[in-house]
Symmetry: C2
Subunit: 566 residues, 2 copies
């Protein structure tokens, strides 16, 4: 165990330089290196300084590419498809175009594939193409508070970087912004040393579409079937994006070309557009507030509060300033640290409305159910779309769905489809708040079997969708959602609602089966009862038949099972 | 389920532009948006382009700071201490100075602390100070292949950024590079918008030490006791760094100042210095090879291979070039992609020695055991230091230790101390390869109880240390090691060796106890046997005493229990 220091080491502990004061010098140095062998290396600060240098963010992620989802060849291929599809869907929606996607994978020799993703989106203006695809941390969504698939401006350029790293081939991009515009073709790679795009080819080409973008990445990959397959992934995309139409061309496995697959849309209508919101005072940290104060061109604190934040009325602004004991006419840029701290505390003390929720858009119960019915064949489907809630100032909402019965395999744990902002999450299931939410529910009370601490088992597919202006992922590869208590609570509530519907369905089924058994049993005996009554009561044949008919009728009426599904 | 597309969608699938060929135009566009309601938003590519912008890496990590270990106030405080201690130890070792550290934590109001870490290292030259502390991704170790605590050039500046974000206070740094040099005092914060340092104060101060660096960060934090405490962390640091002396001043909890603690070193000698190595051909990817070829100023491929890689002799270089069918006189910078691919394949086909292992330095069995004995009181201590091995071209080695018995709590799972390059890993235990290695071993055969899929239980502390030129962490916060099979195997082998020693110890203990019982039993009866023999054989009293003495002596000799511990 650590020994208590025998004496107070005053000379060391007294060294102290407060931020606001002149540093007081140490009385004495930390004990000098006077024992032990003389150091043989003993580099000086000057020598060490020569080794210090900038690390570009692309060098960093090239070396740490498992952080972005490029851990191994099969995951790398799927991550590449995912990043390209995310971008394509985001672009189409922003332009108000119902997405039409083509995803094609071409085998190009052992462990090497070409991934092609083409959309009918608005296209990209020529000057932006190199940066969007050839630079990490470049994009339009990072500084915006509204729901989107992309958040970070890393994904697609990281995929291109991985392709270059493993195949030596640059990314190819063709894009066209309108029917009368020329199409541009680029070959781009990242100069990882500077995190800047290097343009290898840039020319106009003929392309007969109205508008759209097509990218091609060649990479070291493995094409897998099953749970982590491109096909399985696209099926999950189709469920959460009922307005998208996706054609998938798998790689041919022999001489025969593989059959293309179609994931058809179930609606022509685009989801409503999420609106950008301002930050809510409750979610803002002191350092961010300081930056906002400094950058603001408002003339006084009152208008600063009203115009830079959501849900701050004139009255709320007055209350905040009163609590903070700050004059409303103070110029934001002039406010000192101490005043900003008071303002920050007051902002968290005053009562405010929750942030507006039009920055997020649910899939909606109707569409989610249609899409689920189309993609997952089963006897029973139920969905729930919860009202928005808030975590750390960020609005979010949870939707859940369940498909049960039919040909779904019955003895295994249920399949769990996790989504964030309509994007399927395929890896790190056990680290995800959604999984934790599912496990924490007592599924036995909803007629599913469940081992302790495990997913429920049975012929079912569970779906959970989290939509938020800012999804708290546990890593850059966006595979799992962090365990915020507010989020967990909403996940549980949504699942419990689905669970109740499922329990009712299963109970009704069981009742129906029991009823059916009883009825067929009684039906079998009604003619015999008729004959017995005829003998006892001396009935005529018509009287007997009438009695049998009446008995059957009574049985029908009293025991008609419920057959409607919803 | 996804429907098979009814017809081959030839018009779409034929669009194809190979990297090397002129792109062939698409015959027809993806289906146009002709159905559905007219889009009400319909942003054009031009409008969308105005929103695209650079995201600085510090903005990125400020928003995603949970990725760096700043998830919550208690973890943030510990992460800050850790980053500062890592840097201090690395600096001292590089300069050949036996580290003397002061770690002090001062409470500054509710949930706000000042963290101070001071070392006797070589100091930092003035021009480097702002960048090292006020810029993410700046450092000396990222581009170097040798064992170090720091890898990424993120840690300490991220801690400063977190401090600024939550307290509004910049980082304070004082540093001195030699007895006759002036000490410099800085106040620095990150301009997150540009990821560049902003210098608020820069002046000379008096400081009576020979050389060293002292930093202060004020931050929102929580000071915890127990497993994730600063004290517990420093104790773990002391075990893996037997050459370091650390004084810790905890925050005072009332009016009384808290007692400082001393973690004393057990050796004056510094560990040998790890040597920088060149990459090994087996671990190099095509894209990296292309960059190396382009950047190399060697005059032909033969000397390129010999001078840029480790373990490539003249003979090995010839074999590689022969397999690749490349003339040795080719200028590296002129080699085309296709040739580079052949070279890359050949590099992986030829048989080469494993990479040199002097880039990593074990703690060593002797020192690890001394440190373990000093910091963990127990009856039994055993350690194992394995020979180096290689994963993906990176040399690494595993050391393990166990402390057993004494006052360690007996009914709980063992405490597991995980280390990477002498740095304790405190979070994400269940995600770590070390934990997986421990769990995968059958500890019952080493006399510890163990539930299925769990850590063993018993009065023991387990230690595992991974040293490598490149530690594959699962996240930037460096909390868990990725599951490489080669690493797992070495962890298991080291633990099994420790386990065998432990099993022998426990068995010996049990035998000793059984022997002791038997002996005391027999001893009790020897006098009686003496009396009985005297009666039967008519012995004199001296004869009887002689017989008793002889019997005792025989018993002693035959049943002397083993008492040595090692």
């Amino acid at each position: 165990m650590a020994k208590r220091a025998e004496r107070r080491i005053d000379d060391q502990l007294e060294v102290s330089f407060e931020a606001e004061n002149t540093p007081r010098p140490a009385k004495r140095a930390p004990r000098k290196q006077k024992r032990g062998k003389p150091a043989t290396r003993g580099r000086t600060a000057k020598e060490l300084a020569t080794k210090q240098r900038d690390i570009s963010v692309s060098e960093f992620f090239a070396k740490n590419r498992h952080l972005l989802g490029f851990d191994n060849p099969s995951k790398a291929l799927l991550t590449t498809v995912r990043e390209a599809v995310d971008n394509a869907l985001d672009a189409c929606e922003e332009a108000g175009v119902a997405p039409e996607l083509l995803v094609e994978i071409v085998a190009e020799g052992e462990d090497r594939y070409r991934v092609i993703v083409q959309d009918n989106g608005p296209g990209i203006v020529r000057a932006q193409v190199p940066k969007i695809f050839g630079q990490l941390l470049y994009g339009s969504k990072f500084h915006t508070l509204k729901q989107a698939r992309g958040q970070q401006g890393i994904g697609i350029s990281a995929a291109g970087m991985y392709g270059m790293l493993t195949s030596g081939r640059p990314m190819r991009i063709a894009t066209k912004t309108g029917p009368r515009q020329p199409a541009h073709y680029f070959e781009v790679r990242i100069d990882t040393h500077r995190n800047r795009p290097e343009i290898l080819v840039d020319r106009e080409v003929e392309w007969q579409c109205d508008h759209g973008t097509r990218i091609e990445i060649t990479l070291a990959g493995t094409y897998k079937r099953g749970r982590h397959s491109v096909e399985g992934y696209l099926r999950q995309v189709a469920i959460a994006n009922p307005h998208a139409r996706i054609v998938f061309q798998p790689p041919s496995s022999g001489e025969e070309p593989a059959e293309p697959m179609l994931f058809e849309r179930v609606t022509e209508e685009l989801p409503p557009e999420p609106k950008e919101i301002k930050p809510h005072p409750y979610g803002v940290e002191l350092g961010v507030l300081l930056k906002m104060l400094k950058a603001s061109d408002t003339r006084n604190l009152r208008s600063f509060l009203q115009s830079e934040f959501s849900r701050v009325s004139a009255r709320a602004a007055d209350s905040i300033l009163e609590i903070a004991e700050l004059p409303e006419r103070t110029r934001p840029a002039k406010l000192a640290l101490e005043g900003a701290e008071r303002l920050h505390r007051a902002m968290n003390e005053v009562k405010l409305m929750a942030p507006p929720t039009n920055c997020i858009v649910p899939i909606g119960e109707e569409l989610l159910e249609s899409a689920l019915r189309q993609e997952v064949e089963a006897d029973f489907h139920a969905v729930v779309s919860r009202a928005p809630a808030v975590y750390r100032g960020n609005p979010f909402l949870v939707e859940a769905g369940i498909a049960y019965g039919g040909d779904l395999p019955g003895d295994e744990p249920v399949s769990l489809f996790r989504y964030a902002n309509r994007v399927p999450l395929l890896y790190q299931q056990s680290a995800c708040a959604i999984t934790k939410g599912v496990i924490s529910i007592d599924w036995k009370s909803y007629q599913l079997s469940q081992a302790r601490g495990a997913l429920p088992a049975g012929p079912a597919v569970l779906i959970v969708h989290l939509a938020s202006a800012w999804v708290p992922f546990t890593s850059e590869s966006k595979e799992a959602i962090a365990h915020y208590p507010e989020i967990l609570k909403e996940i549980r509530l949504a699942l419990q609602e689905c669970g109740r519907k499922l329990g009712q369905h299963i109970n009704r089924r069981r009742r129906e089966q029991a009823e059916g058994k009883k009825r067929s049993y009684i039906q079998k005996y009604i003619p015999h009862i008729g004959i017995a009554l005829q003998e006892i009561l001396k009935l005529s044949d018509p009287q007997r038949d009438k009695t049998v008919e009446t008995l059957t009728d009574i049985l029908e009426r009293s025991r008609t099972p419920v057959t409607g599904r919803k």
